[in-house]
Symmetry: C2
Subunit: 336 residues, 2 copies
């Protein structure tokens, strides 16, 4: 596979998966101490990743779970935030301005416990963190999901909302093989898609359910930020309430199909696009998940989605555009 170090990927994934138990231990400690609700707080790609957990929470638990933008909550406050809230934050670099400011604001005003996905405990966010969620490498959103799984599903398990936690941990052990296989399977399609669409003036990306955060992240943080490609991300449920009118013979449209309860909404979009679209790419994440149990497919789907989209498609876009994925004109280049 192009630009892919399989041995390193397997090693890193295995190391990340091995931290699952540490998250579960944290969940035990936090549950013993008690908590009133869970706030996921971050910005950009990290809060996008957290949207997945908010969606799953709606379906599985009565624990109140919120995903909030760090820059907003320090200005608007949130009436459900209180001393006993558990805060889950994330910043890979550990120095994202808004996230560090939110952590400080929370400590100063509420004194909540903060669990953070952060590489270094010595980073600004790390120093404000009570419980570090280990993150073994900087790049690859699959590691970010995995970093949160132990704590999150540990909390749900202890709240009697996720009895199947041991079977889930067993599933995780399949991931190195299955994620490599997923990328191998999507490698040729990704090359073809990128070659066909890399000069597109506008890409519409549609998806939803447990994958909405993925659609939001891939369009904003990869295609816009790293490739300077114009996009519109839209939920499958909302596509029929406005954006559909843009579909004509010249519109480039991508649909990423989810695998959970909301999949019927993707099916509806697919039927419409097959009838009225001309330049349509449909990526069904189900096709890349190998023998993952149906019971765990919705909660593992974003891990596979990010592996194929960020792991493969973005690399081929870079190859075609010649635009290095690390090149920015503004972001973190200077103060603004």
């Amino acid at each position: 596979m192009y630009n892919f170090n399989e041995a390193e990927y397997r090693t890193n994934l295995t190391r990340q998966i091995d931290t699952f138990g540490q998250g579960v231990e944290l969940a035990k400690e936090i549950t013993k101490d008690g908590y009133s609700n869970i706030f996921f707080i971050a910005v950009g790609g990290t809060v996008a990743m957290m949207m997945h957990f908010e969606e799953i929470a709606k379906q599985l638990t009565t624990i109140p779970v919120y995903a909030e933008q760090a820059g907003e909550i320090v200005l608007t406050g949130h009436r459900h935030l209180n001393r006993d809230s558990l805060i889950i934050m994330g910043s890979k670099s550990g120095d994202t301005k808004e996230t560090v400011a939110a952590a400080k604001w929370i400590k100063d005003n509420y004194g909540c416990r903060i669990a953070s996905m952060v590489i270094s405990k010595e980073s600004p966010l790390g120093r404000l963190t009570d419980y570090q969620l280990p993150l073994v490498v900087f790049k690859g959103v699959e590691y970010e999901y995995l970093s949160v799984f132990g704590l999150f599903y540990g909390l749900l398990h202890l709240h009697n909302d996720f009895p199947q936690i041991n079977a889930f941990e067993e599933q995780l052990k399949k991931l190195p093989d299955l994620l490599v296989a997923a990328q191998a399977k999507f490698d040729a399609p990704a090359a073809k898609i990128a070659a066909r669409y890399y000069q597109s003036p506008y890409l519409m990306w549609i998806g939803g359910g447990e994958l909405w955060g993925e659609i939001y992240l891939f369009t904003m943080c990869i295609l816009e930020e790293m490739q300077w490609m114009k996009t519109k991300s839209i939920k499958s449920s909302e596509f029929f309430h406005g954006t559909l009118e843009l579909v004509d013979e010249n519109t480039d449209v991508f649909l990423v199909k989810s695998v959970g309860a909301a999949r019927a909404l993707d099916d509806r979009v697919e039927r419409f696009l097959n009838q009225y679209g001309k330049n349509v790419v449909i990526i069904d994440i189900k096709d890349y998940m190998g023998d993952i149990d149906d019971a765990f497919a919705p909660i593992l789907a974003p891990v596979f989605s990010t592996a194929v989209l960020n792991g493969r498609l973005s690399k081929y876009f870079e190859k075609n555009t010649g635009h290095d994925l690390n090149m920015r004109r503004y972001y973190r280049q200077f103060d603004y």
Copy 2:
């Protein structure tokens, strides 16, 4: 003013404002009977309008308030939905497929009380509705906000989260004069903006806080659905985490400034755009709100925003493009 019937507008607004007390009476009845939480449920522009109430709720009340997409909730469920939930729905036509299906699903599975913003009690949604929130005319999102104000702020008042309800009702009486004045003030700017940007291949629209639903609605339901113009809507808080990289000398960028707690995030975007953008339009809703009290400005800002954007700018886009705002190629043209 172009395409504006002032007398009719004033009459309709006054009729709508006069229904405030009916909403407050409903709030008394519902509070007396008790309720566990509030679910706003709709699709498209109506759920976009409801996002405003979800944002305000975060800031003002500990009543759990959720805004959910009707097509999604019937598939995924929501663990906080229960027999005692109060459901607030809306469909101007009363026959929006997903919203009617969600109302039926809720009645069948939970038997909740449903309050709906709907013109006709004899429509499919109207027939599933326990409490009708009067809506006096079909067009004009300002009427939709006003339709919900009495019930929503009545509930907050009775929960001791909105003591100033009488002063608020007094403010509403200023709206006919102030909303006409806002549109008169924005009429010439709207004509100029539309003439300059109606052929744009891509419009970026940025905003946030209590106005995020407005940005979402105006781009998706007006520019995309009614003018077939390509847009990207992005929150002011998230703009710096990806989308900013698209700003260059050819990118057309709109910023709508909010007036509430999150305004500092808009200020930051404004400073960036003034430095790095070339084709930038900044619409500060504060400039159009006349002598509205600061205490009520955030909760009335979307009413002014919709009056200037939908009331004026969309009319001038239509005039320039020659594309009738009522023309659709797909939406409600046939089954899909």
